[in-house]
């Protein structure tokens, strides 16, 4: 039997990518080895020569980092394998029982909705991709200055989700996909796609990978059937 | 029971020790009572029981009419309330203190002591003034022994327990310190339980000799 490929993927893709791997196995392939961690950690592992076959990043920045990193003649990415694989949306969420109502538009009263002491949970601004998008969207909607001092920057977008689910913060900003898997939160509203740059998940083959299974799995993920699996988890079309 | 009629040491103890059982019972009216016996007989164990560091299986310990331990009456004073000045066979100086702080450790208890036992007098009599600022780790064997004696004397004790206190000292020092002990006996009237292997010491100091083992 063929050797399983090693896939490095952003932590937020855990459920969906595992499901896709199951589907791949159902087609008679060895189950890919999936390693989930922060995109930053995975990118650094790749440019230090870690033996992997595919990389799925949660944002373009870290993919660009891999693309431009020195140390290997010809670069760390297998030419012609980079593709934007998925897109995602940004959601404002509240605990499931929260009565809060807000419509997300220019200057919407987010700070008031947080109350006197409430905080807005999201990924660490400037570090976790979701936090970066949240700041961008709030800035474009003109409400960033009023909440900048009120952010609770979680270690990952899933940690932000947990803060809202437990009612530690009245509101939070996470990906639409995260909101969909947590019954203890309610989506207050989705941010208009124009309010932030496109949230894309690039996928690449890693240079030096010789496992044909890797390329096969990559093609499967990008295929219609593969893609369908991710749509079920709330990811948007390419 | 009035303290005048009571023996100075009234001791009756039983304790398992080593492979056997140690039993000792005596009442002594002498201010200085010597405990003698071969090595391993149980002399140190008796002092430990009087000091409250080893609990007898059963028995009674009274010093100058004051009951320190009584298994029947359920009396067992903690060591700090027995008021003894104990010169340990293994000295037990506090290694993290200077000689002076060792000497003064028990002095808190000795509020209104007669001037015989002031720090300077004791140091002079024991010949340890030049050592006051030394850490105790850097003492010779006999110097450490003299500091241990000084510490017990300065602690304002109601009675003294001496476990071979002069074993590491030269004859001249020995004589001097025996003189000091006699003065303590005569001028302060402190009861002393004295362990020694030295016949001359016992002869000179003790009013009563209790053999053990």
């Amino acid at each position: 039997q063929a050797r399983p490929p090693v896939v490095l993927a952003a932590a937020s893709m855990q459920e969906s990518l595992n499901k896709a791997a199951d589907a791949w196995v159902a087609r008679g392939h060895p189950r890919p080895v999936l390693s989930f961690a922060a995109s930053s950690a995975l990118a650094r592992q790749i440019v230090n020569g870690a033996p992997a076959d595919l990389f799925v990043s949660a944002d373009e920045e870290w993919m660009d980092y891999v693309a431009h990193a020195p140390g290997r003649p010809g670069g760390w990415i297998k030419p012609g394998t980079r593709a934007n694989f998925l897109t995602n949306g940004l959601a404002l969420i509240a605990p499931a029982g929260s009565p809060v109502r807000l419509s997300i538009r220019r200057g919407f009263p987010l700070a008031q909705a947080l109350g006197p002491n409430g905080r807005l949970a999201t990924g660490q601004v400037g570090a976790v991709p979701a936090g970066k998008y949240a700041k961008e969207a709030l800035t474009n909607l003109g409400v960033w200055p009023s909440v900048a001092g009120r952010i609770a920057g979680a270690e990952s977008v899933r940690a932000a989700l947990a803060l809202v689910a437990r009612g530690e913060t009245p509101l939070g900003i996470v990906y639409a996909t995260d909101a969909a898997v947590e019954p203890k939160v309610r989506v207050v509203g989705l941010f208009p796609p124009q309010s932030h740059g496109p949230i894309v998940y690039p996928i690449v083959g890693i240079a030096g990978s010789t496992n044909p299974e890797g390329e096969g799995f990559r093609r499967f993920l990008l295929s219609r059937e593969g893609h369908k699996i991710f749509l079920a988890y709330g990811f948007g079309p390419r | 029971m009035s303290s005048e009629a009571a023996p100075v040491f009234d001791i009756d103890v039983t304790v398992p020790r080593g492979e056997g059982i140690l039993h000792l019972s005596f009442a002594s009216h002498a201010a200085i009572t010597a405990l003698v016996g071969r090595s391993g007989a149980g002399k140190t164990s008796v002092l430990d029981m009087v000091a409250g560091l080893l609990r007898p299986q059963a028995g009674r310990i009274a010093v100058a009419g004051r009951v320190l331990f009584d298994s029947v009456a359920g009396i067992d004073l903690p060591p700090e309330r027995r008021g003894c000045g104990y010169v340990f066979q293994d000295l037990r100086l506090f290694p993290h203190m200077t000689v002076e702080r060792n000497l003064l450790y028990g002095a808190r208890r000795a509020g209104s002591e007669p001037s015989l036992l002031s720090l300077l007098d004791v140091c002079a009599l024991l010949g340890i003034e030049p050592l006051l600022a030394r850490p105790v780790r850097r003492l010779s064997g006999g110097e450490a022994q003299r500091v241990a004696i000084g510490r017990a004397l300065l602690s304002g004790a109601r009675f003294l327990l001496f476990d071979e206190p002069l074993s590491s000292l030269d004859p001249a020092r020995r004589g001097e310190i025996m003189g000091l002990i006699e003065r303590i006996r005569d001028e302060l009237g402190l009861p002393i339980l004295y362990v020694s292997h030295d016949a001359a010491e016992v002869e000179r100091l003790a009013g009563n000799v209790v053999p053990i083992g």
Partner: protein
Amino acid sequence: MASARAERMLTPEEWDIVVLSLKVSAVAIGGVAPVAFGCAWLLARGRFVGRVLLDALVHLPLVLPPVVTGWLLLLAFGAQGLVGRWLAEFGVSVMFRWTGAALASAVMAFPLMVRAMRLSIEAVDRRLESAARTLGAGRLRVFATITLPLAMPGVLAGMVLGFARSLGEFGATITFVSNIPGETETLPLAIYSALQIPGSETAVTRLALVSVALSLIALLVSEVLARKVGRTGVI
């Protein structure tokens, strides 16, 4: 002078982070040290049932991944947590506050402090304690003048270990109180944030060097204290 140079080397934001980190670590270590000593004492001297269980409990924050510890703190001290609700009655909340960061640091440092202190307490010669008692010292005075000073190497080692651990503590803090600049963003959180940004290796290195410098200072201070203790028996 040194601080003037440090100020020149660090941006004002970074400088604030350093000050906050020191505050968090100092409060954490200072606050938890007596508890740790008490616990070390119990483990060293106590002969009660469930001693091994207490021991295991003490080691818990070491055994569990830090984020789990942070999560458990969140469960306990959060708005719905038992302790959190109790504290709320007094109008106190540690959530998203620097006090919460100090609490997380303290919990993570706890097992290290207890172990070091316990080792030293176990090494104290109990015959010295009984000698002190014959000299009229009650249990408390024996503790303060004999046991504690003789165990001081372990207390110092525990505090250094705890301080160092606190300077590096990341997972429990961010999970418990998130990363709030000026309130809970200590050095490791800032370093972690920086690490998430491509090309930020210089910023990471600079902050990491600051951490190392702080720990070096802590080590030097502890060495000086240890020497002083060795000489005089007191701090």
